[in-house]
Structures are given as structure tokens and as C-alpha cells.
Symmetry: D2
Subunit: 361 residues, 4 copies
């Protein structure tokens, strides 16, 4: 397996380079009979698309998903769902200057080392454009999870040094989408926008953190011991471009906590077992416990700068890369639907894998 | 796939419960002709074993690995390597009191929800005893990687609030193994031991952080886009009991850095391209770049306390769990060989997967 | 895994229904640096296409493969190769009469039972149109195998009761392609054509057998014990529509042979070990031995007849299906490139899987 | 994947050489709550064991399956089932004479070519001893299928040129087990025994055919397009030592049939759709249709003869192999439980894979 397939039962395989003909994918394993709301899928695509607000770069792509198979009369048929998104923006001459150049903290050097050849136009396969396919497939996974009453809610909780101090009590997607940086707190959101504007003027870039909450997942999802729920989520998140860290529940904070503080005490109300706290982040022993599944994902700052940088070319010679064009200062807000999509793919897969865990009585 | 297999080319499948007859596993895909140093494997097993020093619990297990197949005249034959470790300590009556009880932040409740039945003795399959099989298999992966000059070096960098401030310049495994808490800095090590002793006297427990460095990995390991090197490492680490977080290179710190600070500038010395800094942690675009691969793993505090806790039983009734027996205050030092083993399994797998990445010229 | 992926290292995933928008696929794991001869691929597509000669049905499809990713400047880049073939012939009203009908020995009933919904137009996913994607991917596998000097040669050895008595001494693809039924013996070919014409006039259909020879495969391909070379070939062949049997080497004849007749005696000439006979069909213990790999594939007669048949509909009511339209009397000649494509996929996969079988010295 | 795992949801991984310490395996994915009848499993083991009747070789092995994990209080827990069978008969000096020898139609040469090293004792991993693990796992699969009312019934239908002319109307396992050659027809059974005795006296060996019938499989099993039911069965059967052919339903006979003869006409009785004939062998479009699943498996004659044979050694020098010891003349009767076991593994896997094929209403 060469790495372009995700999942084992709800399985996505993708293809496509930034400046090739098209990107796309195949979803295999989606149950038959699921109603497909194509308008919802397109809304999800729009959420990821660059250029839809003033904080992101100006490149315009339509990102229209064309479905090629797997539906009939509005419902899935159980056969693989093929889809593609044409690339609009293929002016490949724009990239001749980086043909033999290794941009710092990009994948240019490593692709060359691994494959001996590289489609250098716009980053090729290493471009974040590839994540559009994840969002398309994740939207279908969300439709499947929605039938089982599950919801995925995520938002930006840090940009640069600006942090959202607390997860809001009421999780309303509108509060996220109404913020230009997808931060549900209005004050924090404004501070983040200011920081982005300031950093843009400096020709520099920013990273950040996304928090994700999966609500109403039933107890029982996750396959011990290697395919624990948190292990699958961690892989999913670290497979996203620019991600450098993942933590679930108490995460890195847990290292400094005592067991007596950290243990989530069980309680039972009206026959329903739950926990008083949720440092576990909804997972115990690799299996969901019915509480909210909460995790955080760290993104490094964008590697493409608007200022000059020193680097080397293929021959090892030192060169100077000029900062030019228009690029995103911070991609974290746009990564929110990508995090959600990967979370949806993980949960849909584990939901199907859990069928047959026990003999039906 | 029900989750008990790790890897696709160098593939480990494990079995076994804490208090069953035995635990064990099968390694499939190890190349033929590898000399097997069984003494080395047993040393690795000893590193994980409880009770080998004064800071850990008193339970004595021999953890003798019995190899059942796959070797002939001291070398691997390319056929699957079966192995097992007999369980010595099977006094199952010790566990009758937790038969119908859900211990806080353990896997009791979730296993019951998922499977409807549970081997409650010593945590059953959810026990960390399972990790002994990872260490055995990881030792063989290390032997394979050693043939290609790769090394894996890890140590405890935090226990409770005590942090190791800096990765030592010279990485020498002896400095780690000579510390009772596997921290290479003598002063920090002493502080950690003191904290453990103090916490033991309080009947409480501690978590911590392990740092791992993989040295001399060639450029080219990792399979974009979903099976990125860091994605496979993240999954591997989050599959270890009690792990709540993973970060590579700059990790969560990167969220607050600017691109101009974070970019690793390329340089070329005597024909060898490298980077001046290593915020990337040895990975760019999901593929190793030849620099040290550096990551950190966060462990929550041990859930079993030496003090009483409130919980519920299967029927939902509130009960009190008594803190008794002898248990580890902090398992992080013992988790060092487990982290190394999982890292070795990931790298061995990606090393074999990388064969055939390009047409040989 | 829902069944639309073939292979583990050279991996094909396909999608598409007969009368949907398009069919297509993704090849993942093709090594970088392979020159892609698109003209060759199109020739292979033409070989499978209906309507290219007087013995097959009149439906015209262009079957133009559109490649969407994975190549750059004429060579593979190691990234997934996405491709699609637009469906030209989508007059779905043609199929309203079979909407609620179960055609005998078709997949109508079983798809309804499994999925509860069915794209009935032209057989949907169960249509042999799906095999066009196999031929496209198989062509790329052939290019890869060609770099290692391997060849795949196959032909029709039986149609109805007309049998080709002997495999020709000299295997020349031209002898196959110059025959309208892809049988390299001129006399047998003429008899087969006559039988097809006669059967057409009767409104009936025919089955047949294809023989395949893989030449110059190196010793060592095949993964014992479950993924033996012959096991992978058997699966590949039985996954083709209408195939009812597979045999390798002596096949079913071996049941009536004695060991002293059947054993292939080893000999050594100029340092090269080979066997005097080849009842093994090029495979021993599941691994290729360097001799020709020879197997045979049995196809049942086409299920769609030009005469009326009794059947039932979804409600269980008896109905009469009218034989109408133009359909193939015998699809076996057109299945020759499909058999070759699947063989190429199997060998390419095992060729890549064999890398790393032993420690390089 | 190096080939020692079978199945994707009900998954068996095996290890072990003929004359190593032990053989064994891990079953992953068996649902929790299945009652394990260990006596039944041992009966299945006995059916495969050599030396249990006068027609097979004298080697005595106990083949006692030792279960190591996965059960608790008589039921499966959903965790992996580890098991092993100690090798009793490890007199490895018996095999020094074949250390550097390539026996005709054995796997000696191919293992050496692939791995560069070989455990030559008793055939090592290539020995049919490995199939004992399949029978153990298959017995558990049978218990699972039994809960869903499915049965697997198989018998010897040909040895040498002696054929059973017709499948008996009433399928009773007792008629099979009471025959020393596992042929349910008394007259044919006697003829087969005579042929075996005669062939033994000649120092020669025999092959044969096994027919298998799977009864009460529900409609809907099988995953199009590559993992069709018949494709998975074909792979399973061709993975058994000495198998050279597989056919389902009409099989190779279908090649000479006309469509009008071969089509299975649907009928509906009391709301249940079935077919009047069963040339399809219970499978249409790769999915079971609720009729009996019928297939046949061809075995080549045993390669080890009691008479001398010419061969070569590792250096290419011609040598003479002496026929000595006691070996089976015909292993086909003993292969009956192996065929059943592999069929059970296939059906159990597809049964679990079929869960989630459609949205539950």
C-alpha cells in the first residue's frame, strides 16, 4: 500500500496533483440506501476553498465536485463512489523558477529523494489542494454519521500566541462560521484577525490550533489494541499537511497531573452511565465511552513566505528564493473543515468496523 | 480487521490477556537472512519488565520470549516469526472484587459496552502486559534497522511537573539506562525520583513525557498522503496504553511560531543536503529528510490509585473502590522501550514499503 | 474493504456503473520513473472494446482513457494514477423494462438482496463494462513488467465444443490478434467463427476457455502460504465476470495422473536450473520457479439470449423476458485482454512484494 | 503483507514450520459471545491428522490445539484467539540428506531462490503440516456459521481415474466419514481404496478431486467486483498445497454449454425466490443467491515417491533421490477437512463483511 488510501471499511482512496488535470477519489464501503445531499457536500467544499474571505489568498478555484458513480435516484447503491474536481488554475509556467529549487520546509527535497522525479508545479501531490478530496469524502461520512445522530464540531482555538481560553458551553456551528477565522468567541476572533493582518504586513506567516468535538458517538467505537480510536484519529490528523501535533482529552497537560485529579469518576443517572469529568476525551482503552470525543491539532506556520529566503537547488548550490505572489498568512481557519472531514472518516470507519463485534442475541 | 495487527510490510499481529495462558504474536514480512540475537531481545524485554528497580511495582514476571518459528540456524528464513510469553502470575481470584465494577479511567466500561463480555482479570486484553509483545517484535525490527545503520534513542523528558530542559548534545543510551527513571540528566533524574517517592507516600500517581530520536534514517521514508511518516508514528504512539498526545519536531510550540522562525533552511556540505535547524523533526511532506526524527509522547497518570475512589458497577449502583495492593506510581520510565519498539516497527515497515518507490536504473 | 480494490503493492481501485457518468480507477504503488506509452494503453483498450469486428455486438463506445494524475513529462511520479473513461451510451430509458425484473443468471437478484437498491441500467456495476478499467490498469502493469523483460501472452483455446488441441510452439501475439476469435490456429479459428455464426442464428450463446502464458517471470514471485502465486491468479481470474473455473499447469487433469508422470524433473544447463516438463505450470510451493506460468480460465456462455425466457419480478410474479436488441454470442475473444490485464496486475503486485524478501548482501 | 494472513474481517494469521517448535495462529475479528466447543475443534483436527486409518502414512502426531487467549468462561471475548500446536516429531537429522537437494515438484528450489535460506526439515513452512492451523481456525469459523444455520459439506469425488458419478441426493456427513477415502458412495469408495493399495505397491502416488457444498448461506454474501464470493473461494482453495484447479457450479463444463442450457431460471414459491437449476453454483455477480454453493477442487498426485528419481542439488549437480520411508499415496481424503476449513474462513469473513452493506431501516 502506497499510502493513498484511508480507512478499512469506509475507505477513501485519492489521486491528484495541484496543477494536473484533476484531483479526485473513490469511496468504497459506504452502505447502500444513504440519501446524498449534494448541496451539503458543496457547502463543505466552499468552507475549505481559498479566497472566500478577505483573510485568505486570492486564488479562485470553483472546487465543484463531480460525482461519477455510486448514486442512483439520489441514494447510494453500495457501489464505489467515484468523484473528481477539475483543476482550474494550471498556469504551469508560473513554477519554472522552482523547478530545481528546494523551498525550505516544503516537500520538494524529500519527494526528489524518494521518487527521483517531481511534479514541481504548485507543490504537486504535496499541495494542500489534495485535501479538497478529503472534504468531499468527509461530507459523505458526515451524512452517514448524521443518520446515527452523531455530530462533528470544530473551531480554531489558537492562532500565533492568541488563544481561545475556554471551549464554549453551547456548541453552535454558526458561531464558528460567522467568524472570519472560525473562532467562536467574538473577542478572540477579532484579536486573531488583527494578528493576521499585522503578520501579513510583515511578510510573515502564522500557525495555530484547532479543537474538535465529536458529539453523540455511541460507546463501543475503536478497535483495540493497535486501532484504538485515538490512534486512528492521531494518524488522520497527522496526515494533514502542516500538522505537527495531536492530543486527546487532557493531552500533554496530563503529564503534569496526578491520578487523583485526572481520573474521570463514573456516575449513573436514570440508567445511563457517564463520567463527571472528561479528561479521557471520550475514549478509554481505545474505545469510545459515550462522552464527547475531544481532541486538538497543532499546525505549524505556513512555509511560503512573502520575504526572501536562502536555500539550495538540486545541484547543492546556494540560491535565494524571492517572496512573491499572494499566499495565505495562516491556513488554520481553512483547515477546520479538513479536520472535521478526517474525523468523520475515522468515525464512519470505526462505526462500520464495530458491526459484528458481538454475536447478536 | 479487528485491530490487533500493526504494519503492512513488517507486520505484527498480537494476542493475549493479562491473566490468560500466554501472550504472543506473529511477525510477518521480516526479510530472510537476518541474524537473530536472542540475548539482545531478552535485554529489551527486561527493560520493559516491572519490578526491576526500586521505583516500580513488585510483581515479578519472567517475560521469557519463546520463539516458535521463523528462524533456522540463527537466521530468519522469511517465514513468519511466532513467539509467546507465558503468563506466570495468574491468581485470578485476586480480581473477583472488580468483576462487576467499572474502575475510573480504565477500560472496564468500554469493553463491556463493546463486547458484552470481559475478561476482568488484571485488565484482560486492555492491560499494559500486552505491550511486552510489542517490545519483543520491536527488538527484531531494531536488528533489521541496525543493518541499515539506524538507531532509536529515547528517554523520559518529564515526570509530573519536573521537566528535562534540553535534549543532551551527546545521545548515549548508557546515560538513560543508568537512571532509575530513564532520564539522561543526573540532576533532573534525582528530582524525578524524589517526586515519585513523595507521590507514592500520598497514594497518588504521575504521568510524564517521553522524547524519542531516530538517528540515521535515510531520506525517503514515509508514504504520502495518508501514510505520512509522522501519521504512522502518531498512530503507533497513541496505540500505547495511557498515551494522550503526540508531537513531532516543533509540535504544539509551532502554533505560536512565525514562518520566518520555523522554516528549516537548507544547506549543502560536501554534496550532502541538510537543514540548519530541525523544527520539522526530520520529516517534510510526510517523508524523512535525513535529519534526526524527533518526537514526544505524553502519558497520563496511572489510573489505579492507592486511595479509595467512588465508582459504579454494572447495574449502575454506586460503589467504593478500595486502593490496595502494590502498583506503579509512574509507568513512564518503563514505557521507554515500548515507545522505541513502536518507533522501530514504524520505521521497519516504511523502510520495506519504500523499496520499489522508483524504477531501478 | 468492500471489494473494489485489487492488489496490495501495485494496487488498483475502480468505480463506475455501465450507464453512469463514467467509469475509472486509481492505481496506487506504481514505481516512479516508468515511461508511459499512452498509445500502447489505447491499443489495449481497443482490444477489449465491443464492436471492433464482425463477431461482436454493434454497440460503439470509444473507451478513451483520460489520465488525470500520476504522470509528469511522460513518466510516472510515484503518486497515484487517476483515470476515467466517460460512458457514451447512456440511454437509460432502454432499461425501464428490466427495472423490476430478475434476468436469469444475471446479478439483478443478488444485488437487490445485498443492497436493497440497484442501478438496473445495463447491469450497473455488475456489467462487464467495469473490466475496461482493469485493462487500462493492466496496460500500465504490463509496461512495468516489460522493464523486467516479462511478457504475457493469451489466447482462446476453446469456444463451445471446439477446442484448440495444442499450445503453439512459437507464441506470437500476431497470430492471436489476426484471428477474429483470438485463436492462434487458423483452422480452429475458422471452426470457432462458424460455430458462433450458427449459434447467433439460433438466438443462443456460447462460452469458452482462455489459456494464458506468462514468460520470463523470475523465480521467487509469490508469497506463501495464503498469497501463493496461483492463489492470487485464481482470485484475479474468478473476479472476472462469467468465469467459472481456473486451473494452473496440469490443472484438473492432474487428478488422474500418477506422481511418477506428474513430477517435473530438475535439470541444470550452464548453471541454470530448469525442469524437463512443466506440469507445475511454473509454480512450486506457491512461488514461481522461472518456467513459463501457464493457466486456463473457463467462461460460461453469455446469459443474455436473443430468445424469450421465463423469469420472476421483484414481487415474485412470473414474467416473460423477450430476447431483443443486439448482444454478443460469445464474449470469450474479447476477454483475452482482460485475462492478460488481471495476470499483469497479479505479477506486478507480487514483483513489488518480493522486494525485501531477503536481506541484501 | 507477506502472505501469512487470510481474510479481512474474520482474519487468520499463521506461523510454523514442519519441524520447528510449534505451529499456530491468531484469529482476529471473531465476534464476542460465541460459545467455543473445544471437543468439536479437536474432532476436526483428528479428521486432518495423518495415520488415523490404514490408507495414510504412519507418522503419529497428536495435533492437540492449545488455546492461549480469546476465550473467557467458555465464550469468545472479541479479543484475538491465539493458539498453537506443538510439533512432536522433530528428528531433524532425518532430513540431512535433502539439505542441499531439490526434490522434484516440491518447494525446495523456489524457497531457496526467494529467500536464500531454507528450513529443509520436512519441507519447513512449505509442508502441509501448516494446514493444521487452518483446520483449527476453520472449526471456529464453522461454529460461527452454525449460529447462522450454515453448513459445509465436502467429500472426495475423484481419486486417480475413479470418479464419483453423481452428488448424492441426501448429504449426510456420516456417509463421508465412514468411508476410508471420504467418498460417500460405497462402491466408488471401495474402488478408490483398491486403486490406492495397487498404487502403493507400485511405489507411486495419486491425485484427486474434492467437491464441497455450502448449504443455507443467505443471499448477499460476496463483495463485488474483485472480492466476489467465487474469487475468494478460488484463492482460498489454490492456497492449499497441491491444488491445481478450482471450479464453481458448471465450471469448465460451462465452456461447452449453450446459454439456453446454462441459464438458471428463477421461480418463486411461497414468497421465496430460487432457481430451477444451479449451474451458477449458488453465486451470481459474485454474490450468493441463496442456493447451495457448490465447487470442486483438483489435487495433483503426491510429489514424494517411493521410487528413485533423478534431480539436481544446490550446486546444479545431478543426483539421485532414493524413495524411502513411509509416505501417503494419496492425501486427498485428508484434505477434505482442509477444504471445509478454508471454505468456512471465506464464508465467515464475507458474512461479517456483509454487515453494513445497507443502511438499516
Amino acid at each position: 500500500m502506497a499510502g493513498n488510501t484511508f480507512g478499512t471499511r469506509f475507505k477513501l482512496t485519492t489521486f491528484g496533483e495541484s496543477h494536473g488535470t484533476a484531483i479526485g477519489g473513490i469511496i468504497d464501503g459506504c452502505p447502500a440506501g444513504l440519501e446524498i445531499d449534494t448541496a451539503f457536500i458543496q457547502v463543505e467544499m466552499e468552507r475549505r476553498r481559498p479566497g472566500h474571505d478577505k483573510i485568505s489568498s486570492a486564488r479562485k478555484e470553483m472546487d465543484q465536485v463531480e460525482f461519477l458513480s455510486g448514486f442512483f435516484e439520489g441514494k447510494t447503491t453500495g457501489t464505489p463512489i467515484g468523484f473528481m474536481i477539475r483543476n482550474q488554475d494550471q498556469k504551469s509556467t508560473d513554477y519554472n523558477h522552482i523547478k530545481d529549487t528546494y523551498r525550505p520546509s516544503h516537500a520538494d527535497y524529500t519527494y526528489d529523494q524518494k521518487y527521483g522525479i517531481r511534479d514541481y508545479r504548485g507543490g504537486g501531490r504535496a499541495s494542500a489542494r489534495e485535501t479538497a478530496c478529503r472534504v468531499a469524502a468527509g461530507a459523505i461520512a458526515k451524512l452517514l454519521l448524521g443518520k446515527a445522530n452523531m455530530e462533528i464540531y470544530s473551531f480554531v482555538s489558537q492562532i500565533g500566541a492568541i488563544q481561545l481560553k475556554q471551549i464554549p458551553d453551547i456548541l453552535d456551528p454558526k458561531d464558528v462560521e460567522s467568524s472570519p477565522v472560525r473562532c467562536p468567541d467574538k473577542k478572540t476572533s477579532r484579536d486573531m484577525v488583527k494578528l493576521i493582518e499585522k503578520t501579513r504586513s510583515e511578510g510573515d506567516t502564522l500557525g495555530g490550533i484547532i479543537t474538535c468535538v465529536i458529539r453523540h458517538a455511541p460507546a463501543g467505537l475503536g478497535e483495540p489494541v493497535f486501532d484504538k480510536l485515538e490512534a486512528e484519529l492521531a494518524k488522520a490528523m497527522l496526515s494533514i499537511n502542516a500538522v505537527k501535533g495531536f492530543e486527546i482529552g487532557s493531552g500533554f497537560q496530563s503529564a503534569a497531573m496526578k491520578g487523583s485529579e485526572h481520573n474521570d469518576i463514573f456516575t449513573n443517572t436514570e440508567g445511563q452511565t457517564s463520567t463527571l469529568t472528561n479528561f479521557s476525551g471520550g475514549v478509554q482503552g481505545g474505545i469510545s465511552n459515550g462522552m464527547d470525543i475531544i481532541f486538538r491539532v497543532a499546525f505549524k506556520p505556513v512555509a511560503t513566505l512573502m520575504s526572501d529566503q536562502v536555500s539550495v537547488d538540486r545541484s547543492g548550490k546556494q540560491i535565494t528564493l524571492q517572496g512573491k505572489g499572494r499566499h495565505d498568512v495562516c491556513v488554520v481557519p481553512r483547515a477546520v473543515p479538513i479536520v472535521e472531514a478526517m474525523a468523520a472518516l475515522v468515525i464512519a470507519d470505526l462505526y462500520l468496523r464495530n458491526m459484528g463485534a458481538k454475536i447478536s442475541q
